[in-house]
């Protein structure tokens, strides 16, 4: 049994303020989420517009949800898929790309390590990337993501865990290579620490 979200109930009862509030609270997240599927801003804007118009027109026939954000994300995803499928050769849901550009915040990562990490991240499947994005950047729970992506909670959780484990292994290997080369450099004698670190990679 779900407890319907109070804002959702007000909206369904026809309260225009609740409808506007729901828009205000979710529009940023929806636009950002959409941009990972396509770079065509107009397509995303059209789909979002259609989505909200349909919501209002069909409000009396809608089911209940405990999270408007989850409902809206799922709905946007579904609609974008439909549009993108028409415009490209993609057949199955699985093939729709989810583009994540990793923003390395860690400036201590030297260039080579950086590209290795990037490579590791790009080994993740499209759906793994999407799950990680929804978990870490939209702040949704695994249950909610499972409903949005139409996968079982447990398999989704395992998927994200595996992806992060993969990343962890790669990071450990990189750090080990880094340490080994560091000690070789020290043994072979000579340079000051900073220089060794730069040259060893």
């Amino acid at each position: 049994m779900i407890t319907p979200h109070p804002l959702w109930l007000r909206f369904k009862a026809g309260d225009p303020d609740a409808f506007e509030q729901m828009y205000e609270e979710n529009i940023d997240a929806l636009l950002r989420y959409g941009h990972h599927f396509t770079v065509q801003t107009e397509v995303i804007e059209d789909v979002i517009q259609e989505l909200f118009v349909d919501l209002w027109n069909r409000k009396s026939n809608l089911g209940d949800t405990d999270s408007p954000r989850k409902y809206l994300c799922a709905s946007l995803r579904h609609r974008l898929y439909r549009v993108l499928k028409q415009n490209s050769k993609v057949s199955g849901e699985e093939q729709i790309p989810f583009d994540l550009t990793w923003a390395q915040e860690d400036q201590n990562l030297e260039e080579q390590r950086h590209s290795q990490v990037e490579k590791a991240m790009n080994q993740l499947s499209q759906r793994e990337k999407e799950a990680i994005y929804l978990r870490y950047h939209q702040g949704l729970t695994y249950e909610e993501i499972g409903e949005i992506m139409g996968v079982q909670y447990q398999s989704l959780r395992n998927q994200v865990h595996r992806a992060i484990q993969k990343l962890r292994n790669i990071l450990t290997v990189i750090i080990m290579i880094f340490l080994t080369s560091l000690s070789t450099s020290i043994l072979s004698g000579g340079y000051n620490g900073k220089y060794i670190i730069l040259s060893s990679l």
């Binding site: 506007e20 994005y133 870490y136 950047h137 962890r168």
Partner: protein, 324 residues
């Protein structure tokens, strides 16, 4: 901080919401809390630091919205809805049958105005466990924290812009004539700005977020605050000036309560207001000082964040909480 964190492997930290907020989204308050925890648990640092490195890898570049984009899409939605005649918002042409509804609305508004004229006083109260946003007649905005109240004279508000506050509120004031917030402990006067006022029992605190704020405490000279400056006053003591980061949203509005060296009795009073509960504790306990934070999501987690570091036990029985 939960006890079980000390057994966590690097990857386990990536499941903790406050950890994600601290190290992926750079929340300064939560970051400090985690750093304090790391200092207190040096043996856990290797796992924590590795978790930190891992989560840093998950940062992504996000699309940045264009100015006016949201408003444009909303306008399109409104247009599509009003042309299909479904949204009951002011449309350009009102069909005949709507005249009756419009008349009814007018009558309601008129009745309301008469009632307000007669009563002359507006009182807005937020109950314990709720936050409330109220738009004043001049379109200035007040966000009331839990268990707070404002009063103003409806008739004179437009010319005087004067109200009384009991509790805590965040104000966003439209530019114009002087705007005054009176409390039992002091008065705040501004011209068009945003600021937070806390006035409960004997504690008075004002933070200036934008513009300029004038604070007057009876029997003392007025003080002017600029953005990032705050003043705290406890009845019977000298007021203290302090600074904060005005770029950040006021803590309670973003769902976090930060506490800097306050007696537990004040901390429990805040929890009582936020969750609409009743807490009993010994006087020894109430005098102990607490520094830390809790998030305004689950009562259980708030109590945990406060009680665990103080080595206290709590029991929840409906709305009654006992601290041992």
């Amino acid at each position: 901080m939960k006890q079980e964190y000390i057994t966590y492997q690097a990857q386990d930290f990536l499941e903790v919401e406050s950890f994600i907020q601290a190290y992926l989204h750079g929340d300064p308050g939560l970051r400090k809390a985690w750093e304090d925890w790391a200092t207190a648990h040096p043996e856990c640092q290797p796992q924590l630091r590795e978790g930190q490195k891992l989560i840093a890898q998950l940062a992504v570049k996000e699309y940045s919205l264009q100015p006016g984009q949201k408003e444009k899409i909303w306008q399109h939605i409104q247009d599509s809805i009003t042309t299909t005649g479904i949204l009951k918002r002011p449309a350009r042409r009102i069909p005949l049958k709507w005249y009756s509804v419009a008349a009814a609305c007018l009558f309601l508004v008129a009745t309301l105005m008469v009632w307000l004229q007669v009563s002359g006083q507006s009182r807005i109260t937020s109950m314990a466990g709720t936050h409330l946003t109220h738009v004043l007649p001049d379109e200035s905005q007040v966000v009331l924290n839990a268990a707070s109240q404002i009063n103003y004279r409806t008739r004179t508000y437009a010319s005087k812009r004067n109200l009384h506050l009991d509790g805590e509120a965040f104000f966003e004031v439209k530019k114009g004539a002087p705007f005054t917030v009176q409390t039992d402990l002091g008065t705040v006067r501004v011209w068009g700005t945003s600021f937070n006022v806390f006035s409960r029992d004997s504690i008075f605190n004002v933070k200036c977020f934008t513009g300029k704020v004038e604070v007057t405490i009876p029997g003392r000279e007025s003080v002017f605050l600029t953005p990032g400056e705050s003043i705290a006053y406890i009845r019977g003591h000298d007021p203290l000036a302090d600074s904060f980061d005005p770029q950040r949203q006021e803590d309670w509005r973003s769902g976090i309560v930060n506490i800097d060296d306050l007696p537990l009795s004040n901390v429990f009073a805040e929890i009582e207001r936020q969750y609409d509960v009743n807490i009993t504790f010994g006087s020894d306990t109430g005098n102990k000082h607490y520094t830390g934070f809790f998030q305004l999501n689950q009562l259980d987690s708030a109590l945990y964040h406060v009680c665990w570091p103080m080595q206290l036990k709590y029991q929840i029985d409906g709305k009654q909480i006992t601290i041992e």
